[in-house]
């Protein structure tokens, strides 16, 4: 019997020879890159020392982003959650250090107990203890958030946890903005130590005397830059070691790869997840303190954009990859500084996202991400 339920002809599919036109897209990208190279090149030629200063300020920003991005990339790698509250943990870190330094003068505690300690050592130990306390507070905060807001939703649809994360983020920002908490104002930040700056010109490195200007075509940098750079690189090395060499790191990788199997292997998955949040929060707190020291103004909403950029950096580098987050953050920092320097300050956020979109189009899993095969 002739079947009447199904029409006999499928819709026609045009079977012209394959003609991919891939070159159009490539040409577009190449033209875009040439434009950027041209723009940077002319600016480099015009004023090399300005260019170098911008690169340095971009590096400083990038190193801060790197510290935040690590938390994003690890948390996303393990629970596939964009932890929006991470940027606010960063903010809390900055505020804790503000209160310690400004209200309690805490960075001077070694001098109270050991009066003969040289001031240099006092400052170093004092600052380190301020940072450590800020990190501890951040760890406590993040693990509490994880326990209260994310853990109950581990088996709910992923969006539920994301919305919760957004909620927690709003809560921290606006609770902090209440007048009896941190207040919504921009608060000038008191640094625990003095800024020392140097400049490099043709004749070598000179320190800048307070109140004087460095020569016009000199490259300047400060102790804050050096500290941020060194700390950020150390954090990077430490995490690389943690993930690759320690038992906890191996457990983290196992959990990120396959949770049920990891559980069967006797790994305490919940503990590993909490640990991941804690590590991320610790470095976010560290980043928050350094950010506040570097840019010397804090506000309850200060975590939003750096947090977002750091997440973009993590995606750019290949989410889940620690070196990726680092490289992505440096790229973000440069993109931002160069845009501010040579295009226009307000466009810096736009450029950050434009770069993200282009990179994802060319390499859908980010720079260091492993290519993913879809399962069918």
């Amino acid at each position: 019997m002739q079947n009447t339920l199904v029409e006999q002809n499928s819709p026609p599919v045009d079977l012209k020879p394959r003609m991919s036109l891939a070159w159009v897209g490539k040409a577009f990208l190449i033209a875009l890159s040439l434009l950027i190279v041209y723009l940077l090149g002319t600016n480099l030629a015009k004023n090399p020392s300005l260019f170098a200063n911008i690169i340095l300020s971009g590096l400083q920003m990038g190193f801060v982003y790197a510290m935040i991005a690590l938390g994003y990339t690890m948390v996303y790698g393990i629970v596939k959650l964009i932890n929006f509250a991470h940027g606010d943990v960063f903010m809390v870190g900055a505020f804790v250090s503000y209160y310690l330094v400004y209200r309690f003068n805490f960075q001077n505690w070694p001098a109270l107990f050991f009066p003969d300690m040289p001031p240099m050592v006092v400052v170093v130990i004092g600052t380190i203890s301020v940072i450590i306390i800020a990190m501890i507070v951040c760890v406590l905060l993040a693990t509490t958030i994880e326990r209260v807001a994310y853990k109950p939703l581990r088996n709910a649809p992923r969006i539920a946890a994301l919305i919760t994360a957004i909620g927690v983020s709003f809560f921290l920002e606006f609770f902090g903005a209440l007048n009896f908490v941190f207040s919504p104002r921009f608060i000038p930040y008191t640094r625990p130590f003095e800024v020392v700056a140097w400049y490099i010109d043709g004749s070598g490195i000179h320190s800048i005397v307070a109140g004087t200007q460095p020569p016009a075509n000199a490259i300047t940098f400060s102790n804050i830059f050096l500290i941020i750079m060194i700390v950020s690189i150390l954090v990077q090395i430490f995490l690389q070691f943690l993930v690759k060499q320690t038992k906890m790191g191996i457990a983290m990788r196992a959990v990120s790869y396959d949770k049920p199997t990891a559980r069967l292997m006797g790994i305490n998955v919940d503990q590993v997840i909490s640990f991941t949040f804690a590590i991320g929060a610790a470095f976010a707190g560290l980043g928050g303190v350094l950010y506040a020291i570097a840019y010397s103004s804090i506000n309850t909403q200060m975590g939003i954009l750096p947090g977002l950029k750091a997440f973009v950096a993590a995606v750019l580098g290949g989410i889940g990859s620690i070196p990726g987050a680092f490289v992505g953050a440096l790229i973000m920092g440069q993109a931002e500084a160069l845009t501010m320097g040579f295009i226009s300050t307000p466009m810096r956020d736009a450029v950050a996202f434009a770069i993200l979109i282009i990179v994802l189009l060319v390499r859908p899993t980010g720079i260091f991400g492993e290519p993913e095969n879809e399962k069918a």
Binding site: D14, L21, I163, L308, F311, P364
Partner: protein, 452 residues
């Protein structure tokens, strides 16, 4: 006093939702005379509510009507987002950006019009029509070639858009001298910039704003929708931020001095009446319902349910996602136009990406994949947050507005912990339900049927 206000507000929300429901029911009715009588009655009811006074105020006062307008535009935005995210499964944070684009576009058209400049309408109108033609044309051409990479297709559309934009500007500048004498100036309105003509321009402005937002979403969505779900979310968040940046610099980076950058655009004619607000909202609701319950709408759902299976059913994922994204953004653009002409003042702060989470939260609250839930949640949200909390907390001193944002994440957290699928899940009520399908008796003879 507070208790009375509270009860009054809840009653009002309920009444408005019931009213909406009744209106939709009437519009969905088969008989023509029911439709006509119903619409006239509906019109009369609201008109009465604004005129009949009880005690010393009308039943619906200025404050209420403001809330209704906001709720109507929020409904459109949230429905669009629900289409993209709830029905199609593409997690988007870009809806707020398209809302902003719609608001600024529509506002610019009418603002220029009443100030004696017809180029806003001409350029955007011609541009969006030509743009649609260009997009459809290139799409047709590319669909005949096989395996064109996304980036190449995007390059074509991008150059096409630039070309279309240039053509529109040239034509607009050429035609403007012929029209502008009829417009007069802000102080001496000409024949075309008042009365019925102004209403027509308002209508066109909003439609073009929606189409323009849709076209931008096409250009943006084409490359970005091919990314994975979370990456798409971040890219769309970036989009909202970029749009906001452009708004903040609309007078420096963009050539629109009348938008006044971060200071905000003032002097937009307040043309949105409750009639227009309801008109556009009903239009969006009906389009949305009809899309969802069509064959294409089912493919939209199929993509959400299982992309691989959808491919195996012959569904073109990329174009289905793009279509959904464009329709959703169109709704947001319309919502933006309605909002701009209600408030009369646009500030980039309104379109900050943080506020962009609101429609997402509304959609999740009402239930992903439930139009009924989205509409109810939009109204409830505006009344709760803008009305109730603002008024109640207003008595609490300077921290009051902040308290609002402290309380609402807590409500959100509780909701997510207690009912993560949203209030209504995927349930639809009445008019918004899928058309009823009559179960059929088995009409086949035994020989046709395989034993089993």
């Amino acid at each position: 006093m507070e208790l009375g206000f509270l009860i009054g507000s809840v009653v009002k929300i309920g009444a408005i939702l019931a009213y909406l429901y009744g209106l939709l029911w009437v519009l969905g009715h088969k008989k023509l005379w029911v439709k006509i009588v119903g619409v006239v009655a509906a019109f009369a009811i609201v008109q009465l509510a604004f005129t009949i006074t009880i005690g010393d105020s009308t039943i619906l006062n200025e404050f209420d009507s403001g809330l209704v307008f906001q709720a109507a535009s929020m409904t459109m935005i949230a429905l669009g987002l629900n289409l993209i995210y709830g029905f199609n499964g593409q997690f988007s944070l870009g809806q707020w950006g398209f809302y902003g684009i719609g608001a600024y576009t529509a506002a610019d058209i009418t603002f220029r019009w009443i100030n004696g400049d017809s180029r806003g309408l001409l350029v955007v109108g011609i541009g969006s029509i030509l743009g649609a033609v260009m997009i459809l044309g290139i799409q047709k051409w590319l669909s005949r070639l096989r395996g064109v990479p996304v980036l190449s297709a995007f390059t074509f559309y991008l150059f096409g858009s630039v070309l279309v934009g240039a053509v529109a500007v040239v034509i607009g500048n050429a035609l403007n001298p012929a029209i502008s004498p009829l417009l007069g100036s802000a102080y001496e309105p000409g024949p075309l910039s008042q009365g019925i003509w102004l209403q027509i321009v308002y209508f066109l402005a909003i439609i073009f704003a929606g189409v323009f937002a849709g076209e931008v979403s096409f250009l943006f969505g084409l490359p970005v929708l091919s990314l994975g779900s979370d990456y798409f979310g971040i890219a769309t968040l970036g989009f909202t931020i970029i749009v906001n940046t452009l708004m903040l610099n609309s007078d420096t980076i963009l050539p629109f001095p009348e938008m006044k950058g971060g200071r905000g655009m003032i002097g937009i004619p307040k043309l949105t009446t409750w009639f227009w607000a309801f008109f556009f909202m009903l239009m969006v609701i009906i389009i949305m319902r009809n899309v969802i319950h069509s064959s294409t709408g089912r493919t939209i759902l199929a993509v959400r349910e299982d992309e691989t299976a959808a491919k195996a059913m012959g569904i073109d994922l990329a174009s289905t996602k793009l279509l959904t994204f464009v329709i959703g953004s169109f709704f947001a653009g319309i919502g933006g136009g309605v909002y701009a002409h209600y408030i009369g003042f646009l500030s980039p702060g309104t379109f900050d990406f943080l506020a962009g989470f609101n429609p997402l939260i509304i959609v999740v609250f009402g239930g992903l994949g439930s139009m009924t839930g989205t509409i109810a949640a939009s109204f409830g949200w505006i009344f709760f947050l803008e009305g109730l909390l603002r008024v109640l907390l207003g008595q609490m001193g300077p921290d009051a507005p902040t308290w609002r944002f402290v309380l609402y994440p807590i409500v959100l957290l509780l909701l997510m912990l207690i009912r993560p699928q949203g209030l209504l899940g995927t349930v639809e009520w009445g008019f918004l339900k899928a058309p009823f399908v009559r179960p059929r008796e088995n009409q086949h003879t035994a020989s046709d049927v395989v034993e089993g």
